[in-house]
Symmetry: C2
Subunit: 204 residues, 2 copies
């Protein structure tokens, strides 16, 4: 049996849910360590760059959620078959990250007046702009984001929807049938469905 | 002769300079299209996700600067030799991107009072925090960011320094000898040195 790996993050889905989905998909048993924000300051200094998630795997300490997902994707046979397919996945994933960053920028804005302004831009402009294009991309790719087949990019997207939906307070894929269907397809994979049924419930 | 590729970006170094460094390193002739901000609105709709850079290469249109650099890194023999080395490069590159995003968040802040506050945090906290750790990482990696050898991650860093130095208005590596030496080493590679000597001069 492979040694258990250890994922450290906050008590959120957030940036770690794609990692948890991938570990679950691969039936890789993992310790799911969740820090409350007040526990964070002493932990911060023990991380490579003052951030979470950190994944301890194969005797190594990994950071940077996207790099972790790409690494797991390769281990699980969910990467591109050639450099171009890999690039297609990377482009899709970084585009979803751009969207996530815009949502986060609104969500974590401390000034209420500025937050309201950001909210308007995010919901009226940013979300429709990205989602229309992503929806079309999934249509063109036979129901997946890239390479015409299921890759770690699709799992990344389906998992990050939980955070993005929590921020939006609605299912962001609801008006985008190809995205909704992709999300559903991934979340109904037996190992991922099982993870979703047993994971701790959080809003984002 | 390989067909010329075409890089579209703004009249800046910014996110495209790592691509320009990599193309130059690989002696891949490229058309260096630079849009002024006032030319941008009609161009925006022709890009995959409303953003630049876009690289036309091998008959395909690529977007997302990091994905482009990773793709070029593989083509040029500058990628990891195995999944772990590739992950090390990815972690370093995404860490540098986190730092770059913090600098950009300050630099492009339109409200002058908020900008001054962000400036203080960026220069007193963020920059030293990242640079100390990156400097140590380069020391531990035999003078490179990852995998104990020169990779596309080093070229990405050395090129992005131009943008980050422009934002900071000083050489951010000046107090970090391992970073300064890495930057110098990359910029003295003949093909990159030649690119630097002939490129258009911009501040960022």
């Amino acid at each position: 049996m492979a040694p258990k790996c250890k994922l450290s993050y906050f008590a959120l889905m957030g940036l770690s849910e794609p990692i948890r989905f991938l570990l679950s998909y691969g039936k890789m048993d993992f310790e799911d360590i969740r820090y409350e924000f007040e526990q964070w300051p002493p932990v911060k200094t023990s991380t490579p760059y003052g951030k979470l998630p950190v994944l301890e795997i194969d005797g190594k300490k990994m950071h940077q959620s996207t790099a972790i997902c790409r690494y797991l994707g390769k281990k699980l046979g969910l990467a591109g078959e050639n450099d171009w397919e890999s690039a297609e996945i990377d482009m899709a994933v970084d585009t979803i990250t751009d969207l996530r960053l815009k949502l986060s920028d609104y969500y974590w804005e401390p000034d209420e007046a500025i937050k309201q302004k950001k909210k308007e831009t995010v919901f009226k402009e940013t979300l429709p702009f990205y989602l229309e294009r992503l929806n079309e991309q999934v249509k063109e790719n036979g129901g997946y984001l890239a390479a015409g087949k299921m890759t770690w990019g699709d799992i990344f997207f389906a998992a990050l929807c939980d955070y993005m939906n929590g921020v939006a307070q609605f299912d962001i894929t609801k008006d985008y049938p190809n995205l909704a269907s992709l999300k559903k397809k991934i979340r109904e994979l037996p190992a991922i469905k099982e993870w979703i049924s047993k994971r701790p419930v959080t809003n984002i």
